[in-house]
């Protein structure tokens, strides 16, 4: 039997944001978005982790800035695995963001990042009609 999960709580930044770690690739493209609750309000005490499985590059970003998270991600990455942590989430949630339209598998169309300015945008909605697709785990 494995150790069960517990919420990251509101004070995770003490331990998990001791320095900026949101650049998977310092020459990469900006990927940003807002973490939103079921009322459409920003979650300003969440933590988003991104993992580029092909390039083995990892980053994380807290959402203290009005629910907003920002990464600099490899331009050549096909997709990133995304984990979401927050107060009120007893277990982290897994999703994915695709950076390019080609290669998005059926059913994952809503996980494609949008072009915005010179970067990419991907909002994460925990609940509601347009809720982000999360994976069972």
């Amino acid at each position: 039997m494995k150790t069960p999960s517990q919420t990251v709580g509101p004070y995770y930044s003490i331990g998990l944001e001791r320095r900026a770690e949101n650049e998977l690739d310092s020459d990469g493209i900006e990927l940003s978005g807002t973490l939103l609750d079921g009322r459409g309000e920003p979650i300003a005490d969440g933590l988003v982790e991104a993992w580029d499985p092909a390039g083995r590059r990892w980053g994380r970003c807290g959402t203290e800035d009005g629910g907003r998270f920002t990464f600099r991600v490899p331009r050549d990455a096909g997709h990133l695995e995304v984990a979401v942590f927050a107060r009120g989430l007893l277990r982290h949630q897994l999703t994915r963001v695709y950076l390019k339209a080609d290669g998005v598998p059926p059913g994952h169309e809503t996980l494609l990042a949008e072009h915005e300015g010179g970067g990419l945008r991907f909002d994460i909605r925990m609940q509601g009609e347009n809720a982000t697709l999360f994976f069972a785990h």
Partner: protein, 244 residues
């Protein structure tokens, strides 16, 4: 849309039939209401079962990162303790090189965080953060002070049992774990919705450390032992290397 007041019980009864994992839709923990996903989760992409996770090196660490009592000019107030254990997988195999990060309240039950307004003193000699990498046998070790219990706004007269937050990166992406370690015999266990969101009591017991006299340092610090058990990562997993 306003938040409906929740009138139900803060703690739901034990139920082993729900399985060992935490219940993310646990209404007694009020913050879940607008944050926990309500839709059925979709199938995990097959390749995630065996996907490697990030690997961290010694360059992540400073020399005193695993001693929370020596990060300032003076020593923090409170009961000095050693917290140690192993990171293993469900087959008992050591997970070596796992990044273990911890954060906690000080001995008075106050976090060094602007959001925490509990009227208990901050300790200028305590930041409450540590990190280390597990050794070849999966072992980690921290020196810290025992965190205090503290009130929170979840319900009338709500107090969290004393706990240390743990974040662990295993070998596999699916072995990622963020959890909380508790201390044996805490009188607040029965009243805490976060602890009880794990409704299988056998699984919940894995969140509680063990007092460890053998590692207790004479005339210096009590010791608590707590192992972190990560999942296998599912079918198709590459086995984690065994300790030689």
């Amino acid at each position: 849309m306003s938040s409906d007041p929740y009138e139900g019980p803060v703690v739901l009864p034990d139920d082993e039939s729900l399985g060992p994992e935490v219940q993310i839709d646990y209404p007694g923990y009020r913050s879940t209401q607008w944050r926990a996903p309500k839709r059925p989760l979709v199938t995990l992409p097959e390749e995630l079962h065996s996907l490697d996770g990030p690997v961290f090196g010694e360059d992540m660490l400073n020399a005193l990162d695993n001693d929370l009592t020596r990060q300032h000019d003076g020593e923090p107030l409170g009961e000095r303790i050693v917290v140690h254990g192993r990171v293993v997988d469900e087959d008992g195999r050591a997970v070596r090189g796992a990044l273990v990060e911890v954060w906690q309240a000080n001995a008075a039950g106050r976090y060094k965080h602007e959001v925490d307004q509990h009227p208990a003193p901050l300790d200028p000699n305590f930041s409450g953060a540590g990190r280390c990498l597990t050794d070849d046998e999966g072992r980690y070790r921290f020196v810290t002070v025992k965190p205090g219990s503290y009130p929170w706004g979840n319900h009338e007269n709500a107090w969290r049992p004393a706990h240390i937050h743990f974040s662990v990166f295993g070998r596999l992406f699916m072995q990622r774990l963020v959890t909380q370690m508790y201390f044996p015999g805490d009188p607040l266990f029965a009243y805490d919705p976060i602890f009880n969101s794990v409704r299988d009591p056998r699984s919940r017991a894995l969140l509680v450390s063990r007092f460890d006299l053998s590692e207790t340092q004479p005339a210096w610090a009590l010791a608590y032992e707590w192992d972190v058990v990560l999942g296998r990562g599912g079918p198709g997993t590459t086995p984690v290397e065994e300790t030689p």
